[in-house]
């Protein structure tokens, strides 16, 4: 039977790829934390795809969704405007005073990942003092940089690609990368569990994963 439309709540970083995987569904993209909160408040979502695993786990614990599975991974990068007014060449330049750095709020997955990176590099203190705004999701961070209002921002490598013309990417050294795992689960109150399951399968399927890779996401299991 032609399965009905389902509603997918997905992390902002999945904005471009998910429709390519399945164009028929309804998507709401945003900060994973916001989406989780909305689901807690009774949002009629069928599937929840989060930019981390903690949020889905919390929902699972509350019995609000099925046991989450990891469906992809991602990496953090620093983006600077093409003009690069602050002449940022490496992450270490972010300590320079006067740099306008935007990051995502601590509740947002990418926000906490950012903190981890800085932890790993022992830059927390000197860099965080340059933060001028904590945005509500990763896309806002990207936007402020792309608009040239901010000098730099931490985003997922996948997001950086979407506006490649407007920003320059600065890699985060592998040893400093946090474990960025995306978890997906079927919302318990979903009126259409079968289609929801079907969607999850679709994402985990070869085709689905291929699309993910094409958009710069990393394989769901790190190969040694």
């Amino acid at each position: 039977r032609p399965n009905a439309q389902i509603t997918v709540y997905a992390a902002a970083s999945l904005t471009d790829v998910f429709p390519k995987i399945d164009s028929r569904q309804k998507y709401q993209f945003g900060g994973s934390n916001t989406l989780a909160a909305q689901i807690t408040q009774g949002a009629p979502a069928d599937v929840f795809a989060s930019a981390n695993t903690t949020l889905p786990k919390q929902l699972f614990a509350k019995g609000l969704c099925s046991k989450p599975v990891v469906f992809t991974r991602n990496a953090l990068v620093v983006v600077v405007p093409k003009a690069n007014p602050a002449r940022i060449r490496s992450i270490y330049n972010l300590t320079r005073s006067g740099v306008k750095l935007v990051v995502a709020g601590p509740g947002v997955p990418v926000g906490s990942y950012t903190l981890q990176v800085l932890e790993n590099m022992n830059l927390s203190g000197p860099v965080l003092k340059n933060v001028v705004s904590r945005e509500t999701d990763v896309r806002e961070v990207l936007a402020k940089v792309a608009l040239g209002e901010a000098d730099a921002g931490f985003v997922y490598s996948t997001d950086a690609k979407t506006v490649s013309g407007k920003v320059t990417v600065i890699k985060v050294p592998a040893w400093a990368q946090p474990k960025v795992q995306y978890g997906i689960c079927v919302v318990s109150r979903s009126g259409d569990k079968t289609d929801a399951q079907a969607f999850v399968k679709r994402v985990l399927s070869k085709a689905g994963q291929a699309k993910m890779l094409r958009y710069g996401f990393l394989p769901r299991v790190k190969k040694k």
Binding site: A12, K26, Q28, G30, Q41, G42, P44, R139, E140, T162
Partner: protein, 276 residues
């Protein structure tokens, strides 16, 4: 001469103020071309958002008129204990942070809200549905219409309604033949304001209805969502909304002046009004 100076100063201040208010609008149009602006109407996101906005706004405004008018009339013409409270209640959404309004709506109609269980029992879910958008819009925009309506009804000459009564017309006839025709201009003006405000609703909607394309994503939400992906689209949509607002406001201006006396009175602060 100090007098001319004073006049000059005031004019200067006014010009600065108006410039400040105009600049952002100008900037938006500086960044987008009319052509580009109308291209956007073919952009599916914009089109969907436009449809959602229009649909929810129209329903919301209909509700506002239907429920707001009698309420306003009562508040304007009757004295009762706790009236001040009632009027405050009516105006509250106007000054309430939209985000707070959204929280309030969640706390009231959300799954965990006061009526949550009731609605669950009835199998109704409000939050994050299009109904939620309509509710949010109605809640936030209603004061602009109701306040205006109260003002207009209060301004109706009681002698005219009294006359209508002594001429054998009952309450209903008096209301529809005398009160309403005289109030029309003001009511339309109020509705225009409330419509524009509803069209721009953001905070309450995103809190209570989320932002789901084709379902709950209104123009302002789309703007916010597109903001990061494609700034041009955002500017175009913004420009579009500005145009809508301007049209509504000018309509309102006309509606109002059609009400008010034509000749503007001079306060004679700076010399007499040139005659004729």
């Amino acid at each position: 001469m100090t007098r001319a100076f004073l006049a000059g100063l005031i004019t200067a201040v006014a010009i600065v103020t108006l410039a400040f208010l105009a600049l952002p609008i100008v900037a938006i149009f500086a960044h987008t071309t009319p052509a580009h602006l109308f291209d956007q109407l073919s952009n599916p996101v914009v089109r969907d958002a436009f449809v959602v906005s229009l649909k929810t706004s129209l329903i919301a405004q209909a509700l506002i008129v239907l429920f707001g008018t009698p309420t306003a009339f009562l508040l304007a013409t009757r004295r009762f204990p706790g009236q001040a409270v009632a009027v405050t209640l009516v105006e509250l959404p106007l000054v309430l942070p939209p985000a707070v309004a959204g929280i309030g709506l969640l706390a009231a109609f959300g799954r965990l809200g006061l009526l949550g269980s009731t609605f669950d029992a009835l199998g109704i879910t409000l939050p994050f549905t299009q109904t939620a958008v309509t509710i949010a819009v109605a809640y936030v925009a209603s004061p602009l219409y109701i306040r205006q309506a109260i003002a207009v009804f209060e301004a109706t000459d009681p002698n005219l309604t009294a006359a209508s009564r002594t001429l054998g017309a009952g309450p209903a006839r008096t209301f529809f033949r005398v009160v309403l025709p005289l109030a029309r201009g003001g009511l339309v003006a109020g509705l225009a304001l409330s419509f524009a405000r509803g069209l721009g609703e953001f905070g309450a909607t995103i809190m209570f209805a989320g932002s789901l394309q084709r379902v709950t994503q209104t123009l302002p939400l789309a703007i916010y969502a597109e903001f990061d992906r494609n700034f041009d689209a955002t500017l175009a949509m913004s420009g579009f909304l500005v145009l809508v607002s301007v049209v509504l406001l000018l309509g309102l201006r006309i509606g109002l002046t059609w009400q008010r006396s034509p000749s503007k009175r001079s306060l004679y602060l700076f010399g007499p009004s040139a005659s004729g």
